[in-house]
């Protein structure tokens, strides 16, 4: 077990390093072609452009993490870490709300077959609505209409709601699968005990859905980060990785390394939340001697 984890970590590290070499290798190759004025149409069209503006050298990108950023007294790495925490907070709330909403939908659909038939297609279709279309709705309604809450509405919560829009979906779909996963004889067993729908839900359907739920939560955790990042870009909150990425994109011309570094930061955050959920999954399912589903 521990061995396997170490192995995977090592493999991952090796892969990352290899990617770095591939990147640098391709860049060197492309530049030598440019230098020699060869005309390789593929470079710069099907394949990326290789000059420093478009593919900054890896070492520059890494070094950028340790560069103090203008107007602050912090290095970029530190700033990215703080932005990550900001994004993580949004994502965590979105994740929590999305899980609850998704499970609620799953339970409603599991309860009634016609409801499932009627609504499931729309749950699926909802995911083709671009986040950017709902961002202004959420932000404005959040500020304006959510006065009934016991705490004051913060703009970052709007971003969470946007993240919720991405997270509820996998939870709803997989949750439904999970709630429907008990074998017929297990359902009949509950029926033979004259158990009510609620009793069956709590004692059979919900526990049975746990492995499916974890599979969904892994997707949802990642999706919540994506949602938070896109939401930050859209909604104008005072921080976060998404805003950082967007702003670094704006001043890309004068510092491409910063954008690369920020994207790497977001990748680390995404993988981090994924690993957290995977860890919890192993703990919970392993304790019960159950298999994870994918």
């Amino acid at each position: 077990m521990l061995q396997r984890v170490t192995r995977q970590v090592v493999v991952f590290a090796v892969f990352v390093v290899l990617m770095g070499f591939a990147y640098s290798g391709y860049k060197a190759f492309g530049q030598s072609i440019d230098d020699k004025q060869h005309d390789w149409w593929a470079v710069g069209s099907v394949l990326p452009r290789t000059d420093d503006l478009n593919m900054p050298p890896i070492l520059d990108i890494l070094a950028e993490f340790n560069v103090i950023q203008g107007g602050t007294d912090k290095v970029l790495g530190r700033l990215l870490f703080e932005e990550s925490l900001f994004t993580l907070r949004e994502a965590a709330l979105g994740f929590a709300v999305g899980t609850v909403v998704g499970m609620g939908i799953a339970m409603a659909l599991a309860r009634s077959k016609p409801l499932e038939r009627g609504l499931l297609p729309y749950v699926v279709a909802s995911q083709t609505i671009p986040l950017i279309a709902i961002a202004p709705i959420v932000v404005i309604w959040g500020r304006k209409n959510v006065d009934f809450m016991p705490w004051e509405w913060q703009d970052w919560m709007s971003v969470s709601i946007i993240a919720t829009f991405l997270t509820f979906f996998p939870v709803a779909v997989n949750g439904l699968r999970g709630l429907q996963s008990p074998r017929p004889e297990n359902l009949e067993l509950m029926e033979s005990y004259a158990a009510s729908w609620n009793q069956t839900l709590w004692r059979l359907r919900l526990p049975a859905s746990v492995p499916y739920l974890f599979a969904a939560l892994k997707i949802a955790a990642t999706a919540s980060i994506v949602g938070a990042i896109v939401g930050e870009i859209s909604a104008g909150v005072g921080g976060g990785l998404g805003r950082r990425i967007f702003l670094e994109a704006q001043r890309y011309t004068t510092g491409p390394e910063r954008l690369y570094a920020s994207v790497i930061g977001s990748a680390i955050l995404g993988i981090f939340v994924f690993l957290v959920i995977t860890g919890v999954e192993r703990l919970v399912l392993g304790h019960q001697g159950r298999e994870a589903v994918t």
């Binding site: 297990n186 029926e191 033979s192 005990y193 004692r203 526990p207 049975a208 019960q288």
Partner: protein, 258 residues
């Protein structure tokens, strides 16, 4: 007012009535099971054994006739939790420990925690797994899981036990062992058992009566009375036993070729 454990009266069951995929699963079944009897249902696949068992359990409704359990309607008996049930797959809940699995029906019946724990302990004694209460089902072998399932079905002392091929997934030696266990429990608890099986020797070994069913539509073809006295390992090698095996086989052959 009958004292029968189960009384099935002219019960029929048609699935998907009136549709193109209509199935006449059971046709005018009459069957009474006396208190304390061990009855086995046997017949070719699809002849309606499970359906009959589920009618008795009121997990499905007859489309004709009626089913009484302990002198009341089957549905009432279900609501009164008058029977315990076990299936081919042990059907334990992975996420509950063995003890908690056995406690499940007790929880649903509102037993107190203390009572539940005590009863689960007793049941584990009964099925000879006292030290496994804290384990999760995945840590148990198939035979042990099946024993837990039986313990679960007996936990609230139902006077009627309905079993649908409970040993179907076990290998032959384990299966014979489980048969002996079940007979021991049956004689200790004086439960009435209705037992579905595919295995002729199993039917002959276990039951007081073997109900042989014919398919399409499901009917009771013959009932073979078995009286082998107290069963033991020797019974399995007893000519009287082989005779009953042959009798049941013959009945089945007749059904199949019809």
């Amino acid at each position: 007012m009958s004292a029968h454990a189960v009384a099935v009266k002219a019960a029929s069951k048609v699935f998907n009535q009136g549709k193109s995929n209509e199935v006449h699963a059971l046709d005018e079944i009459d069957l009474t099971v006396e208190d304390g009897e061990f009855i086995t249902l046997i017949g070719p696949s699809g002849c309606g054994k499970s359906t009959l068992l589920r009618l008795i359990a009121a997990l499905t409704e007859p489309t004709g006739g009626e089913v009484e359990v302990k002198g009341k309607s089957a549905e009432q008996a279900r609501l009164d939790q008058d029977y315990g049930m076990a299936f081919q797959r042990a059907g334990l809940f992975d996420w509950r420990t063995v003890s908690k699995n056995i406690e499940l029906p007790l929880e649903l019946m509102g037993w107190s925690r203390g009572d539940r724990v005590r009863r689960a302990g007793e049941m584990l004694e009964l099925v000879k797994l006292p030290e496994f209460g804290g384990h999760h089902p995945s840590e148990l072998s198939g035979g042990m899981q099946q024993r837990v399932a039986i313990a679960r079905s007996l936990a609230f002392s139902p006077s009627l036990l309905l079993m649908d091929e409970p040993f179907g997934a076990l290998d032959e030696m384990t299966r014979e062992h489980m048969q002996d266990e079940l007979l021991r429990i049956w004689s200790e608890t004086h439960t009435t058992v209705v037992f579905v099986t595919h295995s002729i020797p199993e039917a002959a070994y276990l039951s007081s009566r073997v109900v042989v069913m014919s398919p399409r539509p499901g009917r009771i073809a013959t009932i073979v009375d078995v009286d082998l006295g107290d069963r033991s390992d020797d019974t399995r090698e007893d000519p009287a036993f082989f005779e009953k095996v042959t009798e049941v086989r013959e009945a089945l052959r007749a059904v199949e070729s019809a």
